[in-house]
């Protein structure tokens, strides 16, 4: 699977950086679109995975679900940071400012805060079963602000963001099929990347849980 994924991503990068026509009137800087959007997508997707695994933990109380949930959150955090950073680069290129507090930027920032809070909470609880239950509960509770900010806030306020770019990554309005296809390919690639990294991180979590005894 690694090999397929690796080749896929190389193809995507080549298409995005070399083959695709320049985007959005930004020249080559616009190519970040192919990476920013998938990163944002993965950050939300990872969170959904973490919340789902948390719910499964609460229902079954099997520690493995907690390992999966924590792993998904860690990878999700990474992609959120990447999405925020790439978004800032794009904002600078497009509008001259690194940060604008527009609703979508704010939404990703809030997701970053949610992840941060999740880890702060996790790291401060020593007992594994309590930590797992509380992390799962927090992940589920924090869905409410996350959903609110992603779907509701933008509708309440005017936005600078290219409209409307939903976190699902699809763009309404007319875009060239080629660009759309490369974007989808990139989305698929990044999702695959997430799954691959998530599985590795889950294994690390399982080992870490076992190691708690030696402390």
């Amino acid at each position: 699977m690694r090999i397929v994924l690796g080749i896929w991503m190389v193809v995507v990068v080549i298409l995005a950086l070399l083959v695709s026509p320049p985007l959005l009137g930004l020249g080559d800087a616009g190519r970040i679109f192919y990476f920013h959007v998938p990163c944002a997508w993965v950050s939300f997707f990872a969170y959904a995975v973490a919340a789902y695994c948390g719910a499964r933990y609460l229902l079954s109380r099997r520690a493995d679900w907690d390992c999966k949930s924590a792993a998904a959150s860690q990878i999700g955090l990474l992609f959120t940071v990447l999405a925020t950073a790439s978004g800032a680069v794009w904002a600078e290129a497009a509008w001259g400012q690194w940060w604008n507090w527009d609703p979508r930027e704010t939404a990703v920032f809030i997701v970053l805060l949610v992840y941060g809070a999740y880890f702060a909470l996790r790291m401060s609880i020593e007992q594994p079963e309590q930590r797992a239950a509380i992390s799962a509960a927090y992940a589920l509770i924090a869905i409410v602000p996350a959903i609110f900010l992603i779907y509701v806030a933008p509708r309440l306020v005017e936005s600078l963001h290219p409209s409307p770019v939903l976190p699902g990554g699809e763009e309404k309005g007319s875009i060239e099929p080629f660009i759309r296809n490369v974007l989808f390919a990139s989305l698929a690639g990044f999702t695959g990347l997430f799954v691959w990294m998530w599985r590795i991180q889950t294994r690390i979590e399982r080992i870490a849980l076992g190691k708690d005894a030696q402390l």
Partner: protein, 224 residues
């Protein structure tokens, strides 16, 4: 259900009685609130705040006062070792409801101090007190409803007070933004600016969803 309501009432009374005797949470919160408003009043003296700015400052103060004090209902139980007694005394649902009611009381105290003082120190006119009261009530329910379960979570952690503020921030940010939007008309006259009614409704639905979710998740957090 009746048992739960009665249990919640008993828990609330117990907390209220304890608080009345020690005045620990109330003093911390009120001291913070008064100091913040006074500071804001001093720093902003003479500055003409538009309604948005006034609303933002007042809700910021309310938020930080809440972050200071609303973890207390559960952290207190953990620190004084009474958790197991409470778990034997009342069902989880009753505990949640009783603690929610107590948090609501703390929020009411915060707002009753902050809003009038704010008006006085910053010379802000309150144009529509009825509307402000409605928004303040919605805000109180929202902030206490969301933080009750968070307080229970944080009670099991070390470094409790800082983790509470960190955990509460993402969850409270949306209603705070909405409350600022909703409060605008109370501090100023501009008609047609923003969507205060929609914002208030949004706060209420947000709180409603969070409260229902907390109700279901609380036993998982509270029980061992």
């Amino acid at each position: 259900m009746k048992g739960t309501l009665r249990g919640a009432w008993i828990v609330f009374l117990k907390d209220a009685r304890s608080e009345f005797r020690t005045r620990y949470a109330l003093s911390a919160i009120l001291l913070f609130a008064v100091a913040s408003v006074a500071l804001a009043g001093f720093v902003l003296r003479g500055a003409m705040l538009d309604e948005r700015q006034a609303a933002a400052v007042v809700w910021l103060i309310v938020f930080f006062a809440a972050a200071t004090g609303l973890a207390r209902p559960f952290v207190q139980e953990a620190e004084s070792g009474t958790e197991l007694l409470l778990r034997q005394a009342a069902r989880p649902e009753a505990v949640w409801l009783g603690k929610f009611a107590f948090s609501l009381g703390l929020m009411a105290a915060i707002e009753l101090i902050v809003f009038p003082l704010f008006g006085a120190f910053l010379g802000v006119d309150v144009r529509r007190p009825g509307w402000l009261a409605a928004v303040a009530a919605a805000g109180a329910v929202s902030l206490s409803g969301a933080t009750t379960i968070l307080a229970a979570m944080v009670a099991k952690a070390r470094a409790r007070s800082s983790v509470f503020a960190v955990a509460a921030l993402p969850v409270l940010l949306p209603p705070l933004v909405l409350l600022v939007e909703a409060s605008g008309p109370a501090f100023g006259v501009s008609v047609g600016a923003g969507q205060p009614r929609e914002a208030l409704l949004a706060v209420m639905s947000y709180s409603g969803i969070l409260i229902v979710l907390s109700w279901f998740l609380f036993p998982a957090v509270w029980e061992e």
